[in-house]
């Protein structure tokens, strides 16, 4: 069965801390994504990666960076957390190609920055 896991369901951090959100998929997918979900705004793409060590900015990359050292793992990094980064963060993966492939989502990490 397809599985995407995220390191934490809930996380509380202080302003200015460096925060790491980890995502692991077991489907051997090339594509991985990080979204943030906010009420009334839906999901917005932060960064995505289509191969190891490759990354591309999404729609809202400011304040975030990512790392993909292994195919199965995609990390989201908040270099200096701020209160406006309090949100739900969702990781997803999908196979390569141009077909109507679905994205498989993790359970999400609800991050609170105080």
């Amino acid at each position: 069965d397809v599985k995407v896991t995220q390191s934490s369901r809930y996380l509380v951090k202080r302003t200015g801390e460096k925060v790491f959100l980890e995502c692991v998929q077991d489907m051997d997918h090339e594509n991985m994504f990080w979204y943030r979900q906010d009420p009334g705004l839906g999901l917005r793409l932060i960064y995505f990666s289509y191969d190891v060590k490759m990354k591309e900015k999404g729609d809202i990359p400011e304040g975030y960076s990512v790392s993909r050292e292994k195919k199965e793992r995609f990390s989201l990094i908040l270099e200096s957390a701020s209160t406006n980064q309090t949100s739900m963060y969702l990781c997803a993966s999908s196979p390569p190609g141009q077909g109507p492939y679905e994205q498989y989502f993790g359970p999400g990490t609800r991050l609170t920055v105080t």
Partner: protein, 115 residues
């Protein structure tokens, strides 16, 4: 840039009723894919149904069907014989057929099925 709009923030129906969730999108592309995802309370987002723009026939998955109107750029989701387990946030999403596999999501509709 593509945009997706869901104009119904919340909806509520009785169990066994039929409900339709609206979605409109804006794009200049001719070929693309459209999706409906479901996010149950405290559970993972899952795909409900998908539609390829070049296919005229509307997609159907059991009790879920879509009304795809390409010229109107409309992609509504119909849930027939609604069940308590259909209670969830529903997101409409767009993806161009070329380039990166980025999804553009709508704002979401919170659907509650009442017993």
């Amino acid at each position: 840039a593509q945009t997706v709009t869901q104009s119904q923030p919340e909806m509520s129906v009785q169990e066994a009723e039929t409900v339709t969730l609206s979605c409109t999108y804006d794009t200049s592309e001719n070929n693309y894919y459209l999706f409906w995802y479901k996010q149950p309370p405290s559970r993972q987002m899952i795909l409900v149904i998908r539609q390829e723009a070049y296919k005229q026939q509307n997609a159907t998955e059991n009790r879920f069907s879509v009304n795809f109107q390409k010229a109107a750029k409309s992609f509504s989701l119909k849930i027939s014989d609604s069940q308590l387990g259909d209670t969830a946030m529903y997101f409409c999403a767009f993806r161009g057929a070329q380039g990166a596999q980025k999804l553009v999501f709508g704002q979401g509709t919170r659907l509650t099925i009442n017993p």
